[in-house]
Amino acid sequence: MNGPQTVVEVRGLTKRYGSHLTAVDRIDLTVRRGEVFGFLGPNGAGKTTTLRMLLGLVAPTSGDIGVLGHRPGTPESLARIGSLVEGPAFYPYLSGRHNLRVVARYGGIPGRRIDERVDAVLRTVDLTGRADDKYTTYSLGMKQRLGVAAALLKDPELIVLDEPTNGLDPAGMRDMRRLIRELGTEGRTVLLSSHLLGEVQQICDRVAVINHGRIVTTGTVEELRGDAELIVAAAPSDIARDRLAAMPQVRGVQVRDGLLRIQVDTQHTALVNQALVEAGVAVTELRRAERQLEDVFFEITQSPEMSHV
C-alpha cells in the first residue's frame, strides 16, 4: 500500500460508535515522507479518532490504513512512530526522567542506551533542569514538553502530535511551534493535528481539513489560501468597480465595507492603479491582502453543503 515516499496512507477509513455516531466517515489521506502535515478541524471533527486509528488504539469499522508500510498498532509500525495523542499521560508519582525511562523500556530501547536517549530528548525539549522533579509538580507546558520528549525517545521517522500547544501560554506555543518545525527539517515526517489555524499555517507544508468526520479539502497552505487580493479605497467606487471589471487581468471585484476587493495577480498592482487614475478615480489606499487559512477554513467548514454532513 505504501510507497517509499508515502508514510501514511488511508483509504475509506470509517469509525462508527453504535448505529448513530459516525466519528470518521470514509476518509482518504496520504502523508508523504519528510513533510509537516497538518490535520485541521474544529473540536469533535474526528481528528483524534483518526490519529488513534493510525496508532492502533482504536480499531476502524472499515477501510485500510498503512503506516510506514505496516498495519497500525503492530510492533513494526510503532517502533518507528513517536506520538502525543490527546495530551500527555504519565505516572504522577514518578519524576520526568523516570517516566521517560519507563517509556523507553516499553519502547524496547536497549538498557545501555536508555540514559543516553533520555538525556538527549530532555535537552531537546529544554527540560533537563526539572527532569528529576515529580511529574505532578510540572506546569501544563512542561507536561506537554515531556510528552514531546517521550515521542522522540525512539528517534522515530514519523511523529504524531495531537494538539501539542493545548494549554500553553504564548511563549510556550512559540517554542513548541519552533520545535515542531525543527523536527520537520530534520527529515522526519510530522503529522500535526490542531484546531488552531494560525499554528497550522505557520508550521505545515500540507493540510487536510476535516469536518464532521469527512476530509473536506487537502492541499498545501498556499493552495488552500489561494491568490492574494488587492484592497483598494477609491471614489467614486461604482466607476472604479466598472473600470476594474473591464480589465482582462482582473478575475473578480467585490465591494465590501466600502472597499474594493480585487481578485488579481498582485504583479498587476501598478496596472490597476494606473487604470483607476486614468478613469478619474481618486485612489486613497491600495494594498495587497493575503487570505488567511482561517478565512478558507470558515468558508469550507461553514458552507451550507458541509454543515449538514
Binding site: R52, T74, V85, V102, R105, G108
Partner: protein
C-alpha cells in the same frame, strides 16, 4: 518471553518499586501478619492468659504457635482473607491505574503489541507478589527466631520441601487474588470500583456464603466449594503443622488439597484469559 515483554516487565517493576501505594500494601500485609501470627499470641503467652485470646489455648500452645517450625502456617495463614484482599488491591491498582491516568495509551503506542504488554505486566505482577511473599516469610522467620531465642526454645525449622510447598501455595493464592484484581481493573477501566467490588467479595460475600452453607443452607455447599477464598483456605489448611491450634480466619477443610490447587489454577487461567480477551479487543478512547 520476548525481549519486548521483558522490557515491559522491567518497566512495570520500576513503576511498582517507586509507587508509594505498593509499599503501603506490603507494610499492611507485614504488620497484619506479624500482629496476628506473632505479637498477639506471644503477648497472650507472656501474660499467662491464653484463654482470653485464643479459644482456650494453653500458654504452651501459644508459644509453640510462634516457633520457627510454624513459619509456613504463620506466614500464609492469613492469605485466605486479609492478604488476599491486599493482593487483589495490588492487581487492581497496577492494571486499573493505567486507565485512571490515561497511561494505557502511552504504554500501547511504544512498541509492544497488546498481548506482549499484558504478558509483561502479568510477569511483573507475579514477580512483585513473589517478592512480597518472600519478605513476609523473612519477617516471620526473623520474629520466630527472636522469640525462640528469648524464650530459650529449640529452633526447629520447616524442611526445605515444606518451605517450598508453602512458598508455592502462598504464591498461587496471592497471585490468584492479584490477577482477579487485575481483571477487574482491566474490565472496569479504573481503580475505585474494582477495589470496592473486590474487597466486598473477599471480606463479605465469601464469608456470607460460607457461613450460610455451614449453618442454614446445605444446598449452598457446592457453591461455597468453588469460591476462590474457600479454596485458598483449604490449600492453607493442607500445610498446617499443629492442628491443635485454632487456625486463622478463612482457613477451612471444606475442600481437599488437590481440588483446591486445581481450582485456584483454574481461576488464574480463566482470569488471565478474560484479561487478555478484554485488553486486546477494546478501543482505547
Amino acid at each position: 518471553m520476548s525481549s519486548l515483554a521483558i522490557g515491559t516487565a522491567t518497566a512495570e517493576l520500576l513503576k511498582l518499586a517507586r509507587r508509594p501505594a505498593v509499599w503501603v500494601l506490603l507494610a499492611a500485609a507485614a504488620v497484619l501478619n506479624q500482629v496476628f501470627a506473632y505479637v498477639v499470641p506471644y503477648l497472650s503467652y507472656t501474660s499467662g492468659d491464653g484463654g482470653g485470646m485464643s479459644d482456650g489455648a494453653t500458654p504452651e500452645q501459644l508459644l509453640a504457635s510462634t516457633m520457627p517450625d510454624q513459619l509456613v502456617a504463620n506466614t500464609i495463614g492469613g492469605f485466605a482473607v486479609f492478604a488476599g484482599a491486599l493482593a487483589l488491591v495490588l492487581g487492581a491498582l497496577m492494571f486499573g491505574g493505567e486507565y485512571g491516568w490515561g497511561t494505557v495509551k502511552t504504554m500501547l503506542t511504544q512498541r509492544a503489541g497488546r498481548g506482549t504488554v499484558l504478558v509483561g505486566q502479568l510477569a511483573a505482577l507475579a514477580v512483585a507478589v513473589l517478592i512480597g511473599l518472600l519478605v513476609l516469610f523473612g519477617l516471620g522467620a526473623a520474629t520466630s527466631a527472636v522469640i525462640a531465642v528469648a524464650e530459650d526454645q529449640a529452633m526447629s525449622w520447616p524442611s526445605l520441601v515444606d518451605l517450598a510447598q508453602g512458598v508455592g501455595y502462598g504464591w498461587l493464592i496471592l497471585l490468584t487474588w492479584a490477577v482477579l484484581g487485575a481483571v477487574l481493573g482491566v474490565t472496569l477501566r479504573g481503580i475505585a470500583l474494582p477495589i470496592g467490588l473486590g474487597v466486598v467479595w473477599v471480606l463479605g460475600v465469601e464469608n456470607l456464603v460460607s457461613a450460610m452453607a455451614d449453618s442454614v443452607l446445605d444446598a449452598l455447599e457446592p457453591v461455597r466449594d468453588v469460591l476462590p477464598g474457600v479454596n485458598a483456605g483449604s490449600l492453607i489448611n493442607a500445610v498446617l503443622v499443629d492442628r491443635s491450634i485454632e487456625p486463622a480466619p478463612g482457613v477451612t477443610d471444606a475442600v481437599g488439597e488437590g481440588r483446591a490447587l486445581l481450582t485456584l489454577v483454574a481461576y488464574l487461567v480463566v482470569a488471565v484469559a478474560v484479561a487478555a480477551w478484554t485488553f486486546r479487543r477494546r478501543d482505547v478512547i
